[in-house]
Symmetry: C2
């Protein structure tokens, strides 16, 4: 491939609204005057994709469709995908990244499968024990807070958590332009003596490292943005992430319940809901545009299953930013030394 452009592959069959969201997101990106330096490779069933692109009235020549007859669902087991779905868009996307056709691969599909396939095909960065997935949480600070790991690894060692801290610091410094970002260790109290054996050992490692470690943080410190990065094991992180995503469901339910308690409440609610919705848009995870599989030897990005076209576009831009920032080189340098 001879091109000066950023070559990014998109799993067109990944998200809940695929392939429409993926197609529209791809064209949002390549039609943006600021991003004329991006070449998109849309991976998925050729027949389906070409038909949809036509129906939606886009110019087929502005991107490359890469055929992949199989599809990975949200319920597929990662191990099964590796064994039986080598012709899937998720698998082929990782392969064309490995062999250099593209410089990054992004999917709004099955997170577990994406991590397993990316780790297997692309390998790990030197010095990394376990690749990890982080997630941005809204906060009362100027920036969202980056929490990792949110589900990659459940039984782990202090060294892994230390590596998460290093990788998270480099990612946040580059992506959010926060110099020397603060790292907190998620725990049940501030004191060094608190928590499980795992976090106590990790505390010691982090205290002696070059990471800007501010000590233990508690559950309430995530939204409070006490630190820029919060480190935890994937068991806790995954539970906290899914719990956080369910807050809005609870809030909507309580609003609805209230509105059904008589005519006065119905009117009060009707007056309130449009403003509330406007405010809650800021809680939207989509604007962050996906998060990378940190530690994987490549640029492999996972987006929310419910990604809208705008979320897909933001995911593509995130991929481009990751390529430019050369984050993986920085991670290797930090962990090898």
């Amino acid at each position: 491939m001879q091109t000066n452009k950023f070559r990014i592959a998109i799993d067109a069959m990944g998200g809940d609204y695929s392939p429409i969201s993926e197609i529209e997101g791809a064209y949002l990106a390549i039609n943006d005057p600021q991003h004329q330096d991006i070449d998109i490779f849309l991976v998925g069933d050729e027949f389906v994709l070409n038909k949809k692109i036509n129906e939606l009235g886009y110019d087929k020549n502005k991107l490359t469709v890469v055929h992949a007859p199989q599809q990975v669902t949200m319920h597929d087991d990662p191990t099964d995908v590796i064994k039986k779905k080598k012709q899937s868009s998720l698998y082929i996307g990782a392969e064309i990244h490995k062999n250099g056709i593209v410089q990054a691969f992004a999917s709004a599909g099955n997170t577990g499968a994406m991590l397993a396939v990316s780790t297997m095909i692309l390998g790990r960065i030197k010095g990394v024990s376990r690749p990890t997935i982080g997630s941005f949480f809204p906060s009362i600070g100027k920036n969202p807070v980056f929490v990792l790991d949110v589900g990659a690894t459940v039984d782990l060692k202090p060294r892994y958590l230390y590596e998460y801290a290093v990788m998270g610091s480099i990612f946040v410094e580059e992506m959010l332009s926060i110099p020397n970002p603060k790292v907190g260790l998620l725990n049940v109290g501030e004191e060094e003596s608190k928590g499980t054996e795992l976090v106590k050992e990790t505390y010691k490692l982090l205290k002696e490292s070059k990471v800007n470690f501010i000590g233990n943080v508690e559950g309430r410190d995530i939204f409070a943005a006490t630190s820029d990065i919060v480190i935890c094991d994937g068991f806790v992180g995954n539970i906290v992430l899914k719990f956080a995503e369910s807050f809005l469901t609870l809030l909507k339910f309580k609003v609805k319940e209230f509105s059904e308690q008589g005519m006065v409440n119905k009117i009060k609610t009707a007056l309130m809901v449009p403003t509330l919705k406007e405010i809650l848009l800021q809680f939207d995870y989509q604007t962050y545009g996906g998060v990378p599989m940190l530690g994987v030897d490549g640029v492999s990005i996972i987006g929310h299953g419910k990604s809208s076209p705008l979320a897909i576009k933001n995911m593509i831009i995130r991929a481009k930013d990751m390529i430019i920032a050369e984050i993986n080189n920085k991670i290797e340098t930090a962990l090898i030394n």
Copy 2:
């Protein structure tokens, strides 16, 4: 002591608004026509309490003040309290429960100290390895969801989680009148094969037990009320609880931020806030009136630090209900057999 009344001790120096909240809450309870069968023992500095009771205009003869010259703060280490604060209201409250002067003891103070002191002085129910603290979470179901453990024990064994399931089931069945309540095990996925070694082993234990075990539940299932009870280790539970309590802070911040973006937003917000506040009252943890230290051989109840007089009253009624329900006998029978 010869009386047919329910004798309940209250730590008057415990909560953030002590002793005012505690005094007012106590009188709310004893002045309630439905609760004329309660005798309150207010434990704290005699001089301070008598003065406040006078100032607030209550009838001093309607309750008993028990003198305790020391006070436990929220920052006191539980071990220090046991060693150095034997004259504190928290310690003496537990002692007069142990020696039979009262049948229950409640505090809105230091949770860790309350657990340590209760466990040491009152001992454990036969068959219980570790006493536990649960917490009610609001939900989209008819009832709140009871999550335990939320901070008592961080390094634990499958057997402990099984005991939590048994104790939680009995407590919820008696207190919320839910027959054979559903128990979920907090995990990162629904499949039996998911999660840490601890939860995988616990899954097996629960599956073979008499508990109404519905399997693994995820972070989003708490608010969704997929089960009536959610079992987890104290590390995860404590982080989730503190994280949940910080959600309203984030929401308030976002509302304020929105209102500061111009005059139109200011007006929109002003119209919305009173209704929103009314709705958010339903998220108020205070209405649940404290939770027991389950597994302790006595009725030892802990309330939220920010307990209002109404919360204190509800805590007293919770204590009375616990005495009536004879929960501890039921726990012993279930765990010994």
